[in-house]
Amino acid sequence: MPLLEIDHVTKYFAGTDGSGDLCVFKNVHFNIEKGEFVTMVGHSGCGKSTLLNIIAGLETATKGGIILEGKEVTDAGLDRMVVFQNFSLMPWMTAYENIRIAVKAAYPKWDRKHIAEYVQQYIDMVGLTGAEHKRPAALSGGMRQRVGLARAFAVQPKVLLLDEPFAQIDALTRGSIQEELIRMWMATGNTVFMVTHDVDEAILLSDKIALMTNGPEAELAELIEVEIPRPRSREALIDSPVYTRIRRHVINFLLERSRKVQEQGGMAESHQRSVSASKAALISIENLK
């Protein structure tokens, strides 16, 4: 039995000004095994963040459902923690307090001293020592996401949900936090579902990559196994033929689907977005050559 089953999930959004309901994605089905790191890649508008929110219990599926350890889950809970793209830290609390409120919620029976030690342990683990009594506004984006990671890991959820966690962090810091994440993931044996549009990030971190077609009515197209042995390093990956093959495959996929939408016409906005996204991917391929 898989740890997490995304069971034929379909999501409709209520249409604006009588245009009818909009199907974001339909019939998405895949499993995540215990300890696996699965990443979903797709263009903006394919509903990948919506799917993550449905797994988290922050949104509801129109059809289908989420099955965790054999039981359907519909509400949010401590067994599925989210690391948000915009960090979602409480701005009136210090870094320490942001983590402590999560720890207190997850372990209500612990005494004050035990909680303090445990929180400090996670502060140290993500390299926030010395900055723990600062409020988020006084921290850089990278530091804030370290708080976000510590908060999520400290709860020891069954599934960790990462919603484009590095998108708002500058490129230089991103690498070190990705390594931090991998180190913590390997140490804890957590199960992770991540959403991103960064192909390199997906290959570096994941066991499997789920490719979504473009929205609306997006579908899960492929589930790729990333057969690169761990530990992986960014430097070694560049020379790895498997890496190059997977990267080419994923980028080709993203470009191909974009073209199809272009040919169909209509859907002005998502069409525009797809075109600019495929241009960006093309440019990065040019750079690679």
Binding site: G57, L58, G77, L78, R80, V82, S88, P91, A137, V155
Partner: protein, 266 residues
């Protein structure tokens, strides 16, 4: 701005501020009619007011019967009424505001009534309170209650309804209990808006108490003003007016400090 420029800027402000005060007092002094046989015609001079102020401040807490109490005693009566009416109103307003902020449908359904009740002068309720409570002191407290209810209520409801979805999402993920959600997330998130409401409420309560005490009589700074007017003691009236202003500033500064402590940068 560099710190040097800042201090010189502050110096300029203080000096011109003092100049305005001097000019005002001078203008006042030269426009006072000369005294005739010891009795002042027209406005008393600033000097006379200053003398009276010195006299009243040197013994503020005497109590020689119903019509002769020190200004400190009268202020304590007023501040006591304010404390009771304002505190009860604030608790009620914050509670209702949180409920309305959390349930938009409820908010929208009661909003028309709030809009109608809000612009009513709190003094307009006075006859109704006198008739139902049959105690002028409690009626005055109820007037304070009415005057300080609406700004806090409206601001709390607005503050709570505009809390970022993210914070509520995190509370859902953490399965925070109802109480923890209220005290750790909802109230701190809405605190800047709530304190802004409390500050406006305090202002209108302090304005209303003077008028209410003029109506009910007996004690308080408002009654003091009216009583001194009946005695034609204009020096006392002018000093009392200045005192009301001064206390109002102190109350506002206190709440301003609180607001600063509870504010946060995103």
């Amino acid at each position: 701005m560099d710190p040097h420029a800042k201090t010189s800027e502050r110096k300029k402000v203080v000096i011109s501020s003092l100049c305005f005060l001097l000019a005002f007092v001078f203008f006042w002094q030269v426009n006072v009619k000369p005294t005739l046989g010891g009795k002042t015609e027209g406005l008393p001079s600033p000097l006379a007011v200053a003398e009276k102020a010195w006299e009243m401040l040197s013994n503020p807490f005497y109590d020689r019967g119903a019509n002769d109490k020190g200004i400190g005693v009268q202020l304590i009566y007023s501040l006591g009424r304010l404390a009771v009416g304002y505190s009860v109103a604030s608790v009620v307003a914050i509670f209702l505001g949180v409920v309305l902020g959390l349930y938009p449908t409820l908010y929208r359904s009661v909003n028309p009534y709030i809009q109608i009740l809000k612009p009513i002068s709190p003094l307009a309720w006075m006859p109704l309170f006198l008739y139902t409570i049959k105690d002028s002191g409690k009626a005055a407290v109820m007037v304070i209650f009415m005057s300080s209810l609406w700004p806090t209520l409206a601001n709390t409801a607005f503050g709570v309804s505009s809390i970022k979805r993210d914070y509520l999402n995190v509370s859902s993920l953490l399965q925070l209990s109802w109480l923890r959600r209220l005290f750790k997330v909802i109230l701190p998130a809405a605190a800047p808006a709530i304190v802004a409401g409390l500050r406006i409420s305090m202002g209108s309560a302090w304005i209303a108490i003077v008028a209410a005490e003029m109506l009910i009589g007996g004690t308080g700074i408002g009654y003091f003003v009216w009583n001194e007017w009946n005695n034609l003691q204009l020096t006392s009236v002018i000093f009392a007016i200045l005192t009301i202003g001064g206390v109002g500033v102190l109350l506002d500064v206190g709440l301003g400090r609180l607001g600063k402590n509870l504010s946060y940068a995103e």
